[in-house]
Amino acid sequence: MLGRYTLTYGLRLAVLAAALGLWQGLSAAGVIRADEFPSMSQTATALWDQASGSSLWSAVGQTLEGWGLGLVIGAAAALLIGTLIGMNGFAYRSAIGVIEFFKAIPVIAILPVGLVLWGATLTMKFALVAFAVFWPLVIQVCYGVRSLDPVVRDTTAVLQVRGPRKFLTVILPSAAPFIATGLRVAVAVALIVDIIAELIGGGSGVGERILVAENAGPSAYPIMYAYIVVAGLLGVLLAGAFTVAERYVLGWHESQRSARAEGQDRGYSERKGLTLVAS
């Protein structure tokens, strides 16, 4: 089906070229004011300049530091605590209300507390990220652990599988898709929170560069927009990397299997692992 593919990619390139062309045209014609919004060529140049030096890469590195550390800490805590809570009915019923409450707090609300405790540092960034990642993920882990298919549960009992072996070979794999969904969301949330921590809290990274550029005035707007693009690309990269990893690890699970069998006509956002399905 080479024809179909080249048509699709051709159209996409055409759309991109048209959009960029339109941008440049409007700037050149003065419809877009130079002191409000840079031209396409200026932004592209700024992006190239930043990328050929070290400043873009160090900013990306700093962002990834906060993102990565926070994600790992938050996820590890969520997996551990979620499993413990999920396995015990009383613990689950007691804790679920509190967890839902904390999950509903917009993370931006905690930022001032983070600043007070740690200032505009890496610690502040990853602490915030870990906090934001923990609550939704712990709920997903609980659901996953508790979601054992009754048929699987009965079969396990008949086969006399108990204790730690039951946990490792039955419960954990069965919870894996829920955990995967939770992690997928966590990857995106971690990036947003890290960027907020930089943009508003002043932690170093891509968000901070945007803030600095904005404060420096219209001459620096090209740099600001260049970093906005970088932030978007970072999001794309991280989400994509996660989807690849998920497919690799969870290849066995039915939903993945049937998705491949059904062929490519699934929504791209689902293929990219973005769609949040009502749980």
Binding site: L16, G97, V98, Y225, G232
Partner: protein, 276 residues
Amino acid sequence: MSLHSLGGAASPGPAARAAGTAAARALTRVWLFVVLFLIWWFWSAGSKSLYFPPLSSILKALWTQWVTGPARAELGSSLEHLVVGYVIAGLVGIGIGALLWSLRYLRDATSPYIYFLYVLPAPVLVPAAMTLFGIGFTMKVVLIAFAALWPTLLNTLDGMRGVDQVKLDTSRVLGVSPLGSVFRVVLPAAAPQIVAGLRNSLQVAIILMVVSEWEASSDGIGYYIVNAQQSFDYVGMWSGIIVLAIIGTVANVLFVIAENRALHWHYGARAVEGTR
């Protein structure tokens, strides 16, 4: 049928036992809240720390500032931006999602760019929005609407694409026109997923509501918190944080209530499925 009855002692009848169980269940869900609250209260009671004032004074500030006092205006302002921005995001998201569903070439051509905008961390656009729209109502509503529309858009598109072919065949056989099918069949069938998107959009909208008020704003909860922090009014700052927590929770609860009413058929059908 407890053993107690054999001993002649009066055992609670089934109704009383059911009520007892219900009370026990309610208690289970609530005790941890109470315990945590009390811990915070007593641990902070004698606090001399500037940054972590006693819970009692925070709660008092909550009352004097937010319920009866000047911060009500900030609250109203923020909520106004939130509601307007979110409604626009919802309508535009569903509208464009449906449009893309029906125009395959447009969808194929634009999907990577839409994906890019969905994954872009929206707070990153705040400085840009400020340079373009200033710092007033327009900037905030545009920002909230722009950021919040992507989850709804993508989930609408995906939900509509995922509608069962059997339902579509049925609608053709029943004589429903193609346009009629969109409203009578495709949108209702996609509704659970659209609602999931709307819920995600709400979370994004709340975050942007606050973020948009953080820098160089003159009103709103975000402004209040920043202002309080900068004037070392940490009691005020904490009260603002709690207000945000309450807003988040209330929004969630309202959403769940609305969802359960609108999608009662979906949850009913799923519940039955589980038992078949």
